[in-house]
């Protein structure tokens, strides 16, 4: 053992938790929009509207992942190295998905054939669903544990990453992100597409709530079973659940903006619960809890953390400011061009139901 985490190590553990929360909040809804492309996008125009709703911002959202990865590398090199090599094939799948998804946004509209667009639509749907689910699986594994030996080396294979709990965590993130995406679209679309989105949101929100409830209960049971609840204040998971319940009520009452915020806050609460459940470890060993990787073992030396803290303190507020500003610039709903405001029906014939 190397003693208790230092104050700076705790700061960086917290910052990384914040980065992942921000990533899941932001890319959560653009994964959701991507996943729902096949369900809500009946016509090519619908799909274009959906993609344009996240068009200006998805790339900036994905940078949260890059910064989370970079920050983990800088502040906790052993965590970064152990996780990334242990989750080798899973990360390859995530990378492949993110690659196809990223270029698909740019490329789908640049070919002329129907078939071309179909292929890239599939890339967007799968490219959104795969990481949305696999990131959940990975976080489930962090808490539930993966086989690590005394030296901290991963001794399992791809299939040891697939415990029932981690799979359920993945399904939960998949459903919750889809709901978050549907809520985002409810705020960004007009006309028939908006109505269809709202109908789907009313069905998705209760499902997300049910998944969140089951997931948090399972997490609690797991932690309690091995008598290890980390340092999670009870209010956090309970609050995350309450926010999900609130989202369901708000959706039924038609307050989609508040429901979006509620689910988003619930995502942050769940992420925080997972990180605090980990603390003071960063990766649990399922072989023996004593082999788990801890914050002090994984952390960089003091000097590096000081440098990184100064850089982060200067630039993070700036980044938040201009990223927030882009959401302000693109705050308007996306409608079929030439049809005016949100109350106008699209000029195309209304879809018969």
């Amino acid at each position: 053992m190397m003693g208790n985490p230092t104050a700076l190590q705790i700061v960086w553990f917290t910052l990384i938790a914040i980065l992942w929360s921000g990533y899941f909040f932001l890319e959560g809804f653009d994964f959701g929009v991507g996943m729902l492309l096949g369900v809500l996008g009946k016509s090519d125009m619908d799909r274009r509207l959906m993609i344009n709703a996240i068009g200006p911002t998805w790339d900036g959202n994905e940078v949260w992942l890059l910064v989370a990865g970079g920050a983990t590398f800088a502040a906790f090199p052993v965590w970064y190295a152990t996780v990334f090599s242990a989750f080798y094939l899973a990360l390859f799948l995530i990378l492949a998905a993110l690659i196809f998804r990223g270029v698909a946004f740019e490329y789908r509209g640049k070919g002329l054939s129907e078939k071309w667009r179909k292929w890239w639509d599939a890339a967007i749907i799968l490219g959104s669903a795969i990481p949305a689910i696999l990131w959940g699986v990975a976080f489930g594994d962090f808490v539930h544990g993966i086989p690590l030996n005394q030296a901290g080396h991963f001794t399992g294979n791809f299939f040891s990453l697939l415990s029932p709990y981690s799979i359920f965590t993945g399904l939960t993130t998949g459903v919750v992100f889809a709901t978050h995406g549907a809520l985002f679209l409810s705020l960004k679309t007009t006309g028939e597409l908006r109505k269809r989105t709202q109908r789907l949101t009313r069905k998705l929100a209760p499902a997300a709530m049910a998944f969140i409830f089951a997931f948090l209960a399972w997490t609690y049971f797991n932690a309690n079973h091995i008598n290890d609840t980390g340092v999670v204040p009870g209010i956090l998971p309970v609050g995350a659940l309450m926010l999900a319940v609130a989202a369901v009520v708000l959706v039924q009452e038609g307050y989609f903006g508040w429901a979006f915020t509620s689910i988003g806050a619930s995502i942050v609460g769940i992420t925080a619960t997972l990180f605090l459940n980990l603390y003071p470890r960063v990766l649990v060993s399922s072989t023996n809890n004593a082999f788990s990787l801890t914050i002090p073992q994984a952390a960089s030396a003091h000097y590096t953390l000081v440098v990184m803290t100064i850089v982060a303190a200067i630039f993070t507020p700036l980044v938040l400011l201009y990223q927030g500003w882009t959401y302000y610039v693109f705050r308007k709903r996306i409608s079929i061009p030439g049809t005016g405001g949100e109350e106008t029906m699209p000029s195309a014939a209304p879809t018969p139901e």
Binding site: N52, G69, G70, L95, G338
Partner: protein, 459 residues
Amino acid sequence: MSALALSRWQFAITIIYHFIFVPITIGMALSLAIMQTAYHRTKNEKYGQIVDFFGKLFAINFAIGVVTGIVQEFQFGMNWSQYSIFVGNIFGAPLAIEGLLAFFLESTFLGIWLFGKGKVSDRVHLFSIWMVSIGTMFSALFILAANSFMQHPVGYKIDPATHRAVMTNFFALLGNPVLIVTFFHTLLAAITTAAAIILAVSAYQLAKRGKTPAFSAAVRFGVVVLFVSMFLNAFVGHIQGQVMTKEQPMKMAAAEALYNTQTGASFSLLTIGNLSGQPIFQIRLPHLLSVLADNSWNSTVQGINQLQAQDVAKYGPGSYVPPVWVTYWTFRIMVGVGGVLLLFGALGLWYMRRRRLDETHWYLRAAVWVAALPFIANTTGWIFTEVGRQPWIVYGLLKTSNGISNLSSLSVGITLAGFTVIYTVLAVVDGMLMFRYARKPLSEPPQSAESAHTADLVY
């Protein structure tokens, strides 16, 4: 093949591929920013048309640069976890800072630039493309700071307890002499690359559709920028060679295949036959290697055999010689291609001065093919500098063979095959789209009522 060999191939393939697109992004962002500034100042429609036209090519290319970049950040941990643990204290910091300073800037302001026309003022729109450009340069600076540490470690100590490198001076990392020359060398190479593409596409358009004010201006822009950036880079490259001679003498010796220390060393333009023994045919320029190494006619340049003996004394038994045929030829190809580009730019300037550039058809047709050259120089340059560092992953501190993760050959084989397939598909698609958009006329009239209708939707 071993997991080590497969991991090396994977890193080589993914990084070379990534660096096809990166220089276009860096150089094109700056070029677009300059042209949009010209438009903003003069309100001359031709500049606006060029920005719109090349903006589309830029966006196609940007996407692929971003997604292949994510692979690079993940790959250190995935395939090179021992390396990551050893240098994470130092190497992770510039990577994280790159994300925070550069990637957020690029991606956020590119969103504003692509989608914000009409939603933000013209000034803010112009500001956005400059922010994208500055973002790409920050990105180059920090990733090269990380790479320069691998070439020439500074500002660190080895922790006696963990045997890992820990940072002792962040500013030494940013003031690394290797970083300063490499940054300008890379930046100028990126500008040359973009200039060559702008020149090629505009030359093709002029040759195909006859004179238009927009493409005539773009051809001139391409020629001037190509020449100036290449001219400056010849000097920067020369300084870089001298830094290399000082900090990584083995790389310089391997660049020339100079096996034995020589005074007033000559430089061989090309060699046929065996590099190490008796070449069958060689063209040599007397004293040039000494001049390249430290600007003096008769200086002594250390040879591979002597450096190998020194390294064995310093680091213990083993071979410290990189694969000489790779360093020898990549160095020559890079420098030779640079020379051709410089001449081609100079020739363009000459035609420009005589006001014949638009009508010189052979030049315009040749320009289309010349666009391939910067990519050859960029790729061979990187192969040279990375292969020339071998067997080290961090020069003098950690060997490449000790940097890898504990992975099975099967796992690495699967991802190597996977990345190769994915990247091949992307290359085909990206190439197709780039060619298609490069051949389009300036502003296409709407083909149907529907496409006119949806003109405001970017995707």
